[in-house]
């Protein structure tokens, strides 16, 4: 037993030393990823029974990306994302209850039931939204960076996008401007290899890491299924950018374990069931971290189960909250169309009563 302890102790030091991560932080990252997994599974269930409508894009398989990259941020840093946005919102500080209630279209939702799964907002923690047009959030992130520079602040922006977004003009126009004006933005591609059902290799002749080079931004790749590596990279990048290094581009390599959205099959015409099953076995970010922490003796099965139970409890509470939250009343239909309704002139043309 004494030998085992020594061996585990040595391994623990090795695992965490490589990344410069404390035991507490490593466990926190595990807790976060478990919550994101269980939360998304709850969303999946709710969608299946018709509680959630519209499009619903799950982050299952990509939990390491949200957990590892957002952890080094401060509350006054900005995060913006595309439509696979639930867990990033939670990571930035939007309450799981509010995210789930938004999926349900309830008043307790993060966007009052007006946004839905693709449009989670959290102004109070500078979560600047989930956005539904591929790549169109990238100029917005550039604008947050512009504001930080304009006001001479030291916040940082993280802008997430999927791999398909780098073929949009919005991406290239933004990176060019960010480079020219040296804006404090970290552009992050969550490269899950498929833009919906189109493999990235089918729509690009160049590698992801090279996409920013033409704009004078050196790209860097990281294994997004390794949350410790992801965290370590972002800790460095966030510090560099805060210190004035200018824009960064990260190819965060990951893999989604579910279909593009809830309307799509997990596998089929564009990727095989075997591929998905193999990747789930080999590259589950929760399993990758679990193996490391078990081997290092930082976590055991009992500890993991305790954490998992807590993740399930929070997720259940979120669905309970969403269920209990009322639907938005008809009086909210016309609310917040305009920020300023002046005393003059007509703004609405549908001829309907707004009372």
């Amino acid at each position: 037993m004494a030998d085992t302890k020594t061996r585990k102790g040595a391994a623990k030091q090795d695992v965490l030393k490589v990344y410069g991560v404390s035991e507490e932080l490593a466990l926190e990252l595990m807790r976060d990823m478990l919550l994101y997994r269980r939360f998304e599974e709850k969303a999946e269930e709710a969608y299946a029974i018709g509680k959630v409508g519209g499009f619903c894009h799950l982050h299952i398989g990509q939990e390491g990306a949200a957990a590892g990259s957002i952890k080094p941020l401060r509350e006054d840093d900005y995060v913006i994302s595309a439509y696979r946005d639930h867990t990033q919102a939670i990571a930035k500080g939007v309450a799981p209850n509010a995210v789930m209630a938004e999926l349900y279209g309830r008043v307790g939702g993060a966007s009052g039931g007006k946004g839905g799964s693709m449009h989670i907002f959290g102004a109070h923690v500078r979560f600047m939204g989930g956005h539904g047009i591929v790549g169109a959030q990238v100029p917005l992130a550039t604008g947050f960076g512009w504001k930080i520079k304009y006001r001479e602040e030291d916040s940082v922006v993280i802008c997430y996008m999927g791999d398909a977004a780098v073929n949009q003009g919005a991406f290239h126009e933004s990176l060019n401007m960010a480079a020219v004006w040296k804006l404090p933005v970290i552009y992050v591609v969550e490269h899950n290899e498929y833009g919906m059902g189109t493999a990235f290799s089918r729509v690009s002749r160049t590698d992801m890491e090279d996409k920013s080079g033409a704009h004078g931004i050196q790209g860097v790749s990281v294994d997004g299924q390794d949350v410790l590596a992801t965290y370590a990279l972002f800790r460095k990048l966030v510090k560099d950018v805060r210190d004035g290094a200018g824009p960064q581009f990260v190819n965060l390599e990951t893999y989604r374990f579910r279909g593009h959205s809830m309307s799509d099959p997990v596998s089929g015409t564009y990727r095989s069931t075997e591929e998905v099953e193999r990747r789930k076995q080999e590259e589950d970010p929760i399993r990758v971290l679990k193996d490391k922490l078990f081997a290092a003796g930082v976590l055991d099965q009992h500890g993991l189960e305790t954490m998992d139970a807590e993740a399930r409890r929070i997720s259940q509470e979120a669905t309970d909250f969403a269920e209990a939250s009322p639907v938005p009343g008809p009086e909210t239909l016309y609310r917040n169309v305009w920020a300023e309704e002046g005393p003059h002139g007509r703004l609405y043309f549908d001829g309907r009563s707004r009372d």
Binding site: Y78, S111, G112, G113, K114, G115, H119, F121, G122, A123, M128, G129, H131, G132, I133, A136, V138, P139, L140, A141, T142, G143, F144, G145, W146, K147, I148, Y150, R151, G169, A170, E173, S174, N176, M177, V180, R335, N336, V337, W338, A339, E340, G342, P343, H344, G345, R346, L347, Y348, F349, G351
Partner: protein, 326 residues
């Protein structure tokens, strides 16, 4: 009062608002070192520096979106499009991001941004540089649309647009920039959005219009006067919010209406106004409302064809005579 050009009136509005609010900045192609493609921003770089008067790359989508993000984060950008013809590249950022952000975040984010530049035809610039664009913007709830036709309106309305908390599409006219007129010097000369202006008073027929077409309408009114016909010329000034009270007042006065606009007829601003007049003042009308618009074709280059395509005073006079059954 000072007599100044429409261009200088816009310049004065920008200068005053830049002085008034440090969060206001101007970004666009050629706005700084070149002094603006149409010299609207002349001298502002020297006065306010490159952080606030910003030359952008030719990336309409990109810098429009940057402006939307900056506005969400608390600044008050003025984004200049060299012309609104180029702003189609940025339309996704305007409609999907600027205009919908306040609603889909349930009021968490305001987007106080002005998109401005010339819209509509100048002289022989061909199909791609000669389009009146206001209906693309007024179509979307969440977007205010302003179309000043005189130097005074240009100044007062631009100041209101910059101070407004919603996205505003502010449409100028290349052929208006050199036009002179009296403009109040007062730094607080602000014309509220949503207030139309009766540019000429008459009792026989109402010519309702906006933007640079007010000048065509006024020419037509002068010609009509020689025939003993007195026309009300109502300048809407802003398309959204829309001063419907002023429209109903002139309709009640003359019972005969011609709408004049620079754009195409199909689903144009005039189509909207006609629909509302027939819904809300049907009993006041003594004749069907007629529209005078650009010919329903892309703008041709040849000078004679361009003249034929544009709304003209003669066509407005003919339309007025039709509603007067003369």
């Amino acid at each position: 009062m000072a007599v100044m050009t429409y261009r200088d009136a816009l310049n004065a509005a920008l200068r005053e608002e830049l002085e008034r609010d440090p969060d206001v900045f101007l970004m666009g192609e050629e706005v700084a070192e070149y002094d603006g493609a149409y010299k609207v921003s002349r001298g502002l770089l020297a006065e306010f520096g490159p952080q606030r008067i910003v030359d952008s790359p030719i990336s309409e989508l990109g810098f429009a979106g940057l402006g939307v993000g900056a506005a969400m984060a608390g600044l008050r950008p003025v984004i200049e499009f060299m012309t609104f013809n180029f702003a189609f590249l940025a339309l996704d950022q305007v409609i999907n991001n600027a205009v919908k952000m306040h609603y889909m975040s349930d009021g968490q984010f305001d987007v106080p941004i002005v998109f401005r530049g010339p819209s509509g035809a100048a002289l022989q610039l061909g199909a791609q540089h000669s389009q009146a664009c206001e209906t693309y913007y007024s179509h979307a709830p969440g977007c205010k649309v302003v179309t000043p036709g005189t130097p005074a309106d240009a100044k007062g309305l631009l100041k209101a647009a910059i101070r407004d908390d919603d996205p505003v599409a502010f449409m100028e006219g290349e052929l208006l920039y050199n036009m002179k007129g009296e403009v109040p010097d007062d730094a607080d000369f602000v014309i509220p959005l949503g207030v139309a202006d009766l540019k000429r008073e008459g009792s026989d027929v109402s010519i309702i219009t906006h933007g640079k077409m007010i000048h065509v309408a006024l020419q037509a009114a002068s010609k009509l006067e020689k025939d003993g016909v007195q026309a009300d010329v109502l300048d809407l000034r802003t398309i959204r919010p829309l001063d419907m009270d002023a429209i109903l007042t002139t309709v009640a006065k003359t019972n005969r209406v011609v709408y004049v606009e620079e754009g195409w007829p199909y689903a144009g601003t005039g189509a909207q106004i006609v629909s509302m007049i027939q819904e809300e003042a049907f009993d006041q009308l003594d004749a069907p409302v007629i529209r005078v618009t650009q010919a329903d074709i892309p703008m041709p280059y040849a000078k004679n064809l361009e003249v034929l395509a544009k709304p003209s005073a003669e066509r407005v006079v003919q339309a007025c005579n039709r509603v007067l059954y003369r």
